[in-house]
Amino acid sequence: MKKSTAFVLSLTAICVMAAGAAFTASAEEITLDVMMAQYGPNTNEWFLGSGMDGTNFVEKFEAENPGIKLNLDVVSWNDIYTEVDTRLANNNAPDILNMDVFANYASEGLLLPVTDYCPEDLYQDFFPSFMDQSVIDDTVWAVPDLASARALFYNVDILEEVGVEVPTTWAELEDVSQAIIDYYDGEIYPWGIDMTTDEGQAAFAYYTWGNGGGFVDENGDWAVNSPENVEAINYALGLINNGFTNPNPATQTRYDLQDMFAAGKLAMLIAPNQLPTYVADKEGDINMATAAIPANEGKEGSSVGVMDRIMAFRDDTAEDQDARNEAIGKFLKFFYDPENYVGWVSMEGFLPAVNSAVEALVESDPSFGAWLDVLGSCQFYPTAKAEWDQVKQGVIAAEQSALTGADIQAELDALQAELMG
């Protein structure tokens, strides 16, 4: 190629690029940086592949909302915290984030209040009890994207074979466990406990809430070392020490327990509503049923709800804040449109967070109805409190220390003192 030709070509390329840039700027297009959590193998397909009836979320959204582009990433739960932290440290927060915790970001003034961007009709569509979980200082900082509820799952065949009823109280749970141990000579674990770093806080919730305790007192202040909590965790430790549970609760995660349950090796466990799908995926053929989580005698048990959120970060550099807020609102409207949202929620077996999706979901799967009732009576982790991360890790560490022989009262006292200090 002659030098002069090359020069003309490169000059043309530069002009085209410059014109393109000018065109992009003049079109006043808004690009939203969106980070969604990966709930399962279908999430990527849904947002970026062809899981939405041959198309995907981004394509459909951009077609229906000209002028708004989505720069959407699906990030695995293992990486999402690291990625968000890194982006925040580099002043590069996403516009929209889908994650579980929000309190740290809200209390440091990084989030936009939901009312700034959420359309009123959509705001009213969310279950109020869910919205309450994202309130700090009377402001809602995030909206729920979906939920799951936990209940007791049991292997009907094992319990029938042994000739016992599903336990409703702690005392009954011990009796049933002993009967299963005796009948199967220890070959089948009666009860599953996960006190791992992954979800040890769930174990804390199951037992303390079933004994009138919990993470906070009636005023909403931290009360991790209450006598009810100490009694509850000692009860759980007793189940482990009596050999009623899986042998290594500090390292056997919920998924290990679910695998054991799917293989018929575990008789009962507390698990989320997606367990039947999980067992079916593992080709397990278990005759299972659900029941309320057993509570201490005379105490009211409660189901455990787990909820994730969608939140919007502030961006003070955005030229037109109103247009940005409107674009975020459009994203939410599109996400929660029953036409899209029902498919999204049922795809991974979760429960919805908006009223408008309930009818369609119950129609497609009647078992949803029962779970939605459970969801109504659920307790949630106090994730709106900024110290939640510390409490979550603290109770797990306390449980694990107790497993190695430490005194749970002393461990929880130390955590409480740390929280008060």
Binding site: D85, D198, A250, D389, Q400, T404
Partner: protein, 298 residues
């Protein structure tokens, strides 16, 4: 004269120009991140990751006063000592064996490289399955052979779990040492052994007077590199136990990761990472100085 001087000056600069790409890469990907960590260790960092002002040595003081700090440091000491020490010993013995002439030597050498060539996460996950109580292959093999009558819980206490982690660490490190030593052994002149035999030297004499001194450079390299690799090793401990129960099986690297991303104590986590870096520099420095001094004396 002037021309010759110019030529000489150009030649002096030449190596540096060739080295420039490497120096740039190392600066961007190694030195710059290290400097950032140093800066962060003296800064206030919020739970959300927002970097605040200078806080002096507060993060260091917080890190040292963490309840798990002592346990983690002791664990890290044993982890490095046992994995580096035992893998060096075993690797040396295996290298001696593989240096002998025997049928299938090539196959044996190929097999040896597998544990080293496989990803550490996969190795640790596989070992997790092997020692699993419920459906672990170790239990099922022993049961089928009739060696044990009922399944054994191979992870019945955290001390045993830590021993398993070290064992897996040794398993994956041995091949590296063995290959380093093997390359050293192959460079030893056979005539040295022949002369030693003529002089009536036995196996141990040959080992301590010929083999060891001559493979010392190879051993030094493998030991220094192993101290750094093993100290910084993350996948085995994280995959097998995540430091559970209550950080009792954590090493410094897994602990500072948990501290940063689980406990969100970002300041102390950065301080701890600087402490680790300094410890590593000191250990590697002392070792290198000792070995180099000995080599100079030879």
């Amino acid at each position: 004269m002037n021309k010759a001087g110019n030529k000489k000056g150009k030649r002096n600069w030449e190596p540096y120009i060739w080295l420039l790409p490497s120096i740039l890469l190392i600066s961007i990907f190694v030195i710059f991140p290290i400097l950032i960590v140093f800066r962060l260790s003296f800064s206030e960092i919020s739970k959300a990751g927002v970097i605040g002002g200078f806080v002096g040595f507060k993060n260091y003081s917080d890190a040292i006063h963490l309840p798990a700090f002592k346990t983690v440091m002791i664990n890290t000491f044993w982890w490095v000592l046992s994995v580096v020490g035992l893998s060096t010993l075993l690797g040396f013995i295996i290298a001696l064996v593989l240096n002998q002439e025997f049928h299938g030597r090539k196959i044996a050498r190929s097999i040896l490289i597998f544990p080293w060539a496989t990803s550490l996460v996969i190795q640790a996950s596989v070992w997790n399955y092997i020692i699993k109580y419920e459906y672990g292959s170790l239990n099922s093999v022993l049961l089928n052979l009739g060696i044990i009558k009922e399944a054994i819980n191979w992870r019945s206490s955290y001390q045993i779990e830590f021993v398993w982690e070290c064992a897996v660490g040794i398993f994956v490190t041995v091949p590296f040492v063995a290959f380093c030593v093997l390359s050293g052994l192959q460079s030893i002149d056979e005539s040295l052994y022949e002369s030693a035999i003529v002089d009536g030297a036995g196996f141990w004499d040959k080992l301590f007077s010929i083999t060891l001194p001559l493979v010392r450079p190879a051993l030094s390299v493998s030991t220094v590199l192993n101290i750094i690799y093993v100290f910084n090793s993350f996948p085995i401990v994280y995959t097998m136990t995540k430091g559970a129960p209550a950080n009792k099986t954590d090493t410094m690297i897994t602990y500072l990761y948990m501290l940063n991303f689980y406990d969100r104590k970002k300041g102390p986590a950065n301080a701890l990472s600087v402490i680790g870096f300094v410890i590593l520099c000191i250990c590697a420095g002392i070792y290198m100085m000792t070995v180099m001094r000995k080599e100079e004396n030879l």
